[in-house]
């Protein structure tokens, strides 16, 4: 079963079309990394999934039911932008209010449990307005976790988190999806962090789904390259450019050759041209580079496609 199935989703704000015929499939048990530029329609799509804004067209199904069904909505946890908390109330009271809205029995135990999950039990007595941005994000996650949600929709949950906060967030998200029951849709601009946890990806651009893929597919799509350093980088670059079509210098000061058959081929070629190599290695582009490449036309990645996954969770893989 798919946790989320979206077909032909459209949202117009006056003459502006924020989301345009978007299709999206999120398998149950997945951590779905939802990626896109600012203004690409990520948040709008997430808000529609959460029922905060009404679609202009198309359909959204959550676990096979219409997204407006109260029974399925009761099992959706959400963090959009920032948690909706009353600033003058304590973290604990804000959590208890949400627990009351959700009709949770043993609300105190439940609130304690989720605060502990995000390592915020010590800050329960703090006024919400006195919490730092990172703390507020963690409170938002805790609030989203109330009521044992099967689907979590998190919009930029990593914003404002320090390294420890990000680690905690990764642990929480991977822990809750271990059993295959819980599904997470998470959007973030921190693609490196996202790559550490996501099992599936969806890349959106101008309100349309550019492509969807599993983590394995991404891995296969990310091209390998040979990175090297020599004493004379300018001459090396000129030499390599004569033989290879794509040679770039990266931020770390390495020359990257994307279309070499092997490192040995480059070593031989440069040796024949009187150039000695200081260091050479093979590597793969990461999600961030893949994404940037895709946005720039997709030369180093698989062609953009609109695909649908087989229903496959992290557990099965």
């Amino acid at each position: 079963m798919n946790a989320v199935e979206i077909k032909g989703l459209t949202k117009n704000f006056g003459p502006k079309q924020a989301v345009s015929g978007l299709n999206m499939t999120v398998p149950a048990g997945a951590i779905y990394g939802f990626i896109g530029e600012n203004g690409s329609g990520k948040s709008t799509t997430e808000k529609m999934i959460c029922g905060l804004i009404l679609p202009s067209g198309g359909s959204i199904k959550l676990y096979g039911k219409d997204y407006t069904d109260a029974d399925v909505r009761a099992r959706v946890g959400v963090l959009i932008e920032a948690p909706g908390c009353f600033p003058n109330m304590s973290v604990w009271n804000n959590m208890m209010l949400q627990a009351s809205n959700l009709g949770i029995k043993n609300s105190e135990t439940e609130v304690q449990k989720v605060l502990k999950m995000v390592r915020m039990e010590g800050a329960a007595g703090n006024k919400y307005k006195n919490c730092s941005l990172g703390m507020k994000q963690r409170i938002g996650i805790a609030m989203a976790l109330l009521g044992d949600p099967v689907l979590l929709v998190l919009d930029e949950p990593l914003n404002g988190l320090d390294a420890d906060g990000m680690r905690i967030m990764r642990e929480v998200l991977t822990d809750i999806t271990k059993d295959g029951k819980h599904t997470v849709i998470v959007s973030s601009h921190l693609l490196g962090e996202l790559q550490k946890i996501a099992t599936h990806y969806g890349i959106i651009r101008h309100g349309k789904m550019l492509c969807e893929m599993t983590a394995e597919e991404l891995d296969a799509n990310c091209r390998t390259y040979v990175a090297l350093q020599t004493k004379d980088m300018n001459r090396t670059k000129a030499l390599l450019a004569c033989k290879y079509s794509r040679v770039e210098e990266d931020e770390a000061g390495y020359l990257r050759v994307y279309d070499a058959k092997s490192p040995e081929e480059i070593v031989t070629y440069l040796y024949e041209n009187g150039m000695l190599i200081n260091e050479i290695k093979t590597d793969k582009i990461g999600l961030e580079e893949y994404y940037i490449d895709l946005m720039n036309g997709g030369s180093s990645s698989a062609p953009a496609k609109q695909s649908h996954f087989p229903s496959k969770s992290k557990e099965e893989r």
Binding site: G29, L54, R73, G84, C85, L97, G103, G147
Partner: protein, 278 residues
């Protein structure tokens, strides 16, 4: 995947949903200083009205008392849909104006804090929200009626006003006005749902409707004696709940208040359902 197929979704009952939401709204009401400030304002209004009685003017003369009887600070002797001086307006109906501002602040805070966002992403339905706000705000306005009464009694006693009237009528008038709180709270909730993105407009519209100006304008055309049909409106019924009130007055107020509350709740729910929440 097997695990996901075993997932069970339970539809929370209406009672369970409303109970949870009412719990939150009552908690918020009792834990916000705003509620107590408005209770104090309600108590202070009759004190201001009655406190001017017998005050000395700059020329040494003593001002004409606005009321000689304390119960006139609660309601007029007979329904006055159109008043000739401010004295005719200065009674418990003023609670409904301040109540409107209180409702605007209460609901405005829901949107400002992002609470509605947190709420409507759960199983909460729009009609639950309308009902919960209407009921809680009606309770708050009924409490304001009580503090108004206490303020009037204490100020009246201090000034030495006459308390002697047929005691049955003020009780029915006060209870009728308290019943009207439900209709008024629903109207204000409705207005605040319409203007939810514009806090200033919400307050201004609540104030305008709270003063009853649209009904007063109609009353000026038809006159006090022909104004009984105005009782079908909230302001009309609130005026009808005067010191000469009887059990029929109470029933009229009950029916008018409940019917308008239902109408405003239905229309408010429709507006919320047909528009983006946030």
């Amino acid at each position: 995947m097997t695990a996901s197929r075993e997932l069970k979704f339970e539809s929370p009952s209406f009672i369970k949903r409303l109970k949870g939401m009412l719990g939150v709204d009552f908690y918020r009401l009792f834990h916000t200083p705003m509620f107590y400030i408005f209770l104090a304002i309600a108590a202070f209004i009759p004190a201001l009205i009655l406190g001017t009685t017998g005050m000395s003017n700059p020329d040494g003369t003593v001002s004409e008392p606005l009321y000689t009887n304390v119960w006139n600070a609660i309601a007029a002797n007979t329904p006055l849909y159109v008043f000739e001086d401010m004295g005719g307006y200065a009674n418990m109906n003023m609670v409904f104006i301040f109540g409107g501002i209180m409702v605007s602040i209460f609901i405005g805070h829901d949107y400002k804090s992002g609470y509605v966002k947190q709420l409507f992403t759960t199983h909460a339905k729009k009609q639950d929200y309308m009902m919960s706000k209407s009921l809680v705000c009606a309770f708050a306005m009924a409490c304001m009626c009580i503090t108004y009464l206490l303020g009037a009694v204490v100020a009246g006693a201090l000034v030495g006003l006459d308390f002697s009237v047929n005691f049955g009528s003020p009780v029915i008038a006060i209870v009728s006005k308290m019943i009207m709180s439900l209709g008024w709270a629903s109207l204000y909730t409705f207005l605040n749902v319409i203007f939810r993105k514009y806090f200033g407009v919400s307050i201004a519209s609540s104030f305008l409707f709270g003063t009853g100006l649209p009904i007063i304008a109609i009353g000026m055309i038809v006159g006090n004696s022909a104004g009984s049909f105005l009782n079908i409106f909230l302001y009309g019924s609130s005026v009808y709940a005067c010191l000469s009130a009887n059990i029929v007055t109470l029933l009229v107020c009950l029916v008018v208040s409940v019917v308008w509350a239902i109408l405003y709740n239905v229309f408010g729910s429709l507006i919320l359902s047909k528009s983006d929440v946030y």
